[in-house]
Symmetry: D2
Subunit: 382 residues, 4 copies
Amino acid sequence: MLLDTLLAVRQRSETLIAPLEPEDLMLQGMADASPPKWHLGHTNWFFDTFVLQPHAAGHRACDPLWSYQFNSYYDAIGARHPRPQRGLLSRPAIGAVLAWRQRVDAGLEALLQDPPEGVDALVQLGLQHEQQHQELLLMDLLDGFNRQPSEPVYNPEAELTLTLEEEQWLACPGGLTEIGHQGERFHFDNETPRHRVWLEPFELSSSLVSNAGYAGFIADGGYQRPELWMSEGWTLVQQHQWQAPRYWRENNHEFTLAGRRRRDPQAPVRHLSWFEADAYARWSGARLPTEAEWEHALGLHGAAMQHAHRVLWQWTASAYSPYPGFRPVEGAIGEYNGKFMSSQMVLRGSSWLTPPGHERNSYRNFFPPASRWMAAGIRLAR
Amino acid sequence: MLLDTLLAVRQRSETLIAPLEPEDLMLQGMADASPPKWHLGHTNWFFDTFVLQPHAAGHRACDPLWSYQFNSYYDAIGARHPRPQRGLLSRPAIGAVLAWRQRVDAGLEALLQDPPEGVDALVQLGLQHEQQHQELLLMDLLDGFNRQPSEPVYNPEAELTLTLEEEQWLACPGGLTEIGHQGERFHFDNETPRHRVWLEPFELSSSLVSNAGYAGFIADGGYQRPELWMSEGWTLVQQHQWQAPRYWRENNHEFTLAGRRRRDPQAPVRHLSWFEADAYARWSGARLPTEAEWEHALGLHGAAMQHAHRVLWQWTASAYSPYPGFRPVEGAIGEYNGKFMSSQMVLRGSSWLTPPGHERNSYRNFFPPASRWMAAGIRLAR
Amino acid sequence: MLLDTLLAVRQRSETLIAPLEPEDLMLQGMADASPPKWHLGHTNWFFDTFVLQPHAAGHRACDPLWSYQFNSYYDAIGARHPRPQRGLLSRPAIGAVLAWRQRVDAGLEALLQDPPEGVDALVQLGLQHEQQHQELLLMDLLDGFNRQPSEPVYNPEAELTLTLEEEQWLACPGGLTEIGHQGERFHFDNETPRHRVWLEPFELSSSLVSNAGYAGFIADGGYQRPELWMSEGWTLVQQHQWQAPRYWRENNHEFTLAGRRRRDPQAPVRHLSWFEADAYARWSGARLPTEAEWEHALGLHGAAMQHAHRVLWQWTASAYSPYPGFRPVEGAIGEYNGKFMSSQMVLRGSSWLTPPGHERNSYRNFFPPASRWMAAGIRLAR
Amino acid sequence: MLLDTLLAVRQRSETLIAPLEPEDLMLQGMADASPPKWHLGHTNWFFDTFVLQPHAAGHRACDPLWSYQFNSYYDAIGARHPRPQRGLLSRPAIGAVLAWRQRVDAGLEALLQDPPEGVDALVQLGLQHEQQHQELLLMDLLDGFNRQPSEPVYNPEAELTLTLEEEQWLACPGGLTEIGHQGERFHFDNETPRHRVWLEPFELSSSLVSNAGYAGFIADGGYQRPELWMSEGWTLVQQHQWQAPRYWRENNHEFTLAGRRRRDPQAPVRHLSWFEADAYARWSGARLPTEAEWEHALGLHGAAMQHAHRVLWQWTASAYSPYPGFRPVEGAIGEYNGKFMSSQMVLRGSSWLTPPGHERNSYRNFFPPASRWMAAGIRLAR
């Protein structure tokens, strides 16, 4: 059954690139993003390196050159191609990458007939890793398409459609509570250990902030009033001339994976930085929730806290730090989450780009506060 | 009595520049630092702008041009000279700045004969602000002198001399505790509100990490082993070729305000980034304390927690965030602390450069994790 | 007959990309280079814009968006996509570009049945322009392939093979002479007007500098001796750590369009900057010729001045300036050569990458003195 | 008599800084400029290094550290402090520099009682070098003052006052002529060898372009019309938002060493780049003269060619290249002129900032075409 899931996830990666032109496979719009072909190669390298090479007798490791090209950031594995130059890797071409994926699939299939101790967990990790890259691939593609005058359409059906209902304030009494992953289901190391946290009473919005709500902030001079911003954010506003969320276009349009579209005022605002979310919250007389508040409220209120999942990642007020007693996994695979615990903010929930089944209440996503290309939105607290 | 304190603090600023050559007054070693003359002008501008202009009838405000030059980051006051170019402000010359300081001193003296409501608090804030800049002036000067081949000596007596004793681990049982400022004494807004925090049991070192201890980290390949570092820190290590704390020199020397000196192995290591402190802690099998742990342990153990003050600021594991329920002061003066609550880490304690009397157990100092020019050191937790 | 030539040149552009993978079509290794697909689109845009739109009744102009993307630097035509971001233009895909080329070919074929006044000259210019881009395409591709760990082979047959003979010094008595284009054959505006120049007596080498000769310069500390270099060049040597020509690899290899190859000591040295050519000349006790000397000597000595064409472009000592009385062509098409007459040096001759028939004795090629990716070599004078 | 001249020139350097505040001595407005104190130290270092150390028995060489700090670009002498960081050298303070100058003056005075062979020429070179730096000091100071909101006045008398007369076109028949230094008087190596040049007939303006003339260019959209500009210049116009000469201010004012002043329409336009001079010339239907034309016309027309000297340096159309047969002086001193013969343009004449007696008809001044802070203006040819 793990095998079935695995193969379905693997297949989905290839399905995602089906609508693309070959040239799109090379597209890297900025240093933070990666080309689609690279995502396909890198997720394959992950299985080749961490599952097949150590555990599948007779597996022929990929070319060291490919390992150099498709390693993302695992220093323990060796040197790697500089990230900002992934868009220069025209070779191997997609055909060779897909053939490599087939070899790895075959190897995994054979290995999972009778998996040695620990392999199931590694395969599960590789599978979750590939799901993460499926979302990254779509985010990165949106960024790359957004930079082109021709405004390409990835998929007319790829769009989020949601009309927000009126906001309620969900009361949370606070007190001594617990957050973090619980139980046997898969989770990342950064969600543990589950631990106690003291919370003061607070309220959380039942909903997300809408495009109309955010337009009110803009109309009220939101991008011209330094008192609403963190100093660092205000510098960015001026430096990059931010005046609206990243993909907003003139005349009430926005750029999406379905191309240029009319912006729905009642849809949730998205693709904005933590600084914008924070400034909006201050303007509205509220604030962003901490990640503990977010997780606790979801446990308390369940479905009444709408859109916790599968709509937009939600910025929190929490810097991404280790939970008390956190220990990363041993070995190279431990470079997964722990080494990014500086200068980033936590996002909670999941988005419409997140592969179905990948979401989790204790999930800790993280990005630098200036990042805008993720599918991120705003939920308020007070 | 406030007046006496005020005048003593004001006088101290001018005493600090007595050993300098006129050219030193213009010295700005990097964009993050400011020239000594600018610090003297800026602290004066603070009193002129926030105390005398609104409250001293008949006070003649300083030239708007000077306000433009000596405003640091108060957007509500108006435009300002770009920080990286403070070192280009040869005019007004020091004589004119000192004359301005005398006028402001006279104005404050008159005003404090019969201070209107609220003025005492503003003067107190201006006084504390000037003390902060006294430490900044010395930090910045050390940076500027460090960049010169001639290795100037600021003051042969200006050095920290301390021999560390053997480290003890102070046990702290944790539980529900409180941190934040309490009582009527002066404090900054970011130290409030006092609030409850849940702590798991931990131990804190009684002492700071020594030069010898840190040399052990270096000798063990600390700067060559990516697994010890946050990813962001490792990038900096490679980019800037960091190989030791900022002011270490070859042959067991270091650069100080007393010039080039032999480094004492038993003195505390200093002038290193949060990334280096964090990597050292990981290497030693410990970690940095959170700011709540630091403050709680000091309350619990008192003097047994040595060197909490007047030696070195101590990096914590805590990102600089608002306390639950934090509200900045109203008005321009509220731009003091709150707007820097992103991408910085908290340091606790105080340093040998901190003006006597300025220290406080609830004091939250903050700097970006890559900063190295402050008088910062390491205290471990586990 | 012009039509035959035209169609042959047009066909050749498409033949040049036949060995490429689709991903290679997007490859832009640096801001100075362009992707292969862009070269095919741009040369087509040239005909569409300057020939068909003004002269072919009923011609449907290309999409303004495509004009924006494929305009190189013609300000009179309108805004254009920033050059450093040509590698982000995944759309239009190659299929659409090739279909556009077919439409333009058909339009040109129809137009040339009975060409209006002036059209022949414009078509001739477009044809020469496309030939220039054929060489650029190969230069740029070599740069892009050179940046990849996988060391792609473009064409095993694409390499220059030449063994240099022993150098002779060709004597030239100087005096009042003439340079510049003469006659009715096609030429660029910058080769005119033909004009008088006074030359002092000089000698020119019959041959080019070899890899072995250049290796002698390196072995003699050429890249470590500032006295051999222009100050600007010496700064570049240190900044970029230049230690050899651009495509030299360790163990006497070099990277070429035929992949990594053993370097032939008797082949001409190539792919080096003007600064390297100038430093080499100084080291060898000679100098670079002026462009007037080069052109005059070729007229005087003919074939005895070997390798004037079809081997390597040859750096001269001449800055690229207008000839006395130079007038660029009227209109947008006049932005071709004249506006680049600053901060560049003239190269004379042609290279093995130059399309056959494109070379001319009065041809003035030009590049900034720091450029290294062209097929440039060294001929000495004294 | 050489000694008298020497001492007068040396004294003049110190007189130039008399109106300055001590802080001004540290002022370095940009990487291309140097602080006044540095100019005083560097010119002294030149005599110490090239005259006294090799020729004055018993001379105590300056501290190697000072040599490191005050060496400008003489690689043969050793390493040096990075130019962009000269503004960080607060030490040695001016007092120590002036004392050093006195020691050097005394040494030179003793040496010149009975100068060994070759010393007179070296002293002459040092003297001319110091004169060059006197002009640089004033140019650099103007740049540094220009960056300050307080608009300092260096010297109310320091300004150029000149009302241009109506322009005449001076006819020059051309033919075979000679340029370059002739005779025994002092000259720099780059003015030789005198050599033959062929000139076509041309006309040269008797005068310089006025502020009013240049204002006409601006009013006619000069800074908005790409067809008037070199491509490289047009990029700079857009990048730096050039809209007028460097020191023009709003409301018909300009910034000068005498502070902010009303701009005289009939005074010559100044402080503009070669790109602006070239664009203006194109707009006016003329061109810039070559340096050979300039020098030849001055020989032919003498005083009828007004303002050749002591008003403004005049941009020419000539790239700065070696004269045929040029040989730099042997040794470190030969790094004076020859190594800058790339990517710069020649200016002829002299300016009102040039020390009296320093000017010469064959003088070749040179700056990169983007430089604007020199005292440069425009003379047209056609």
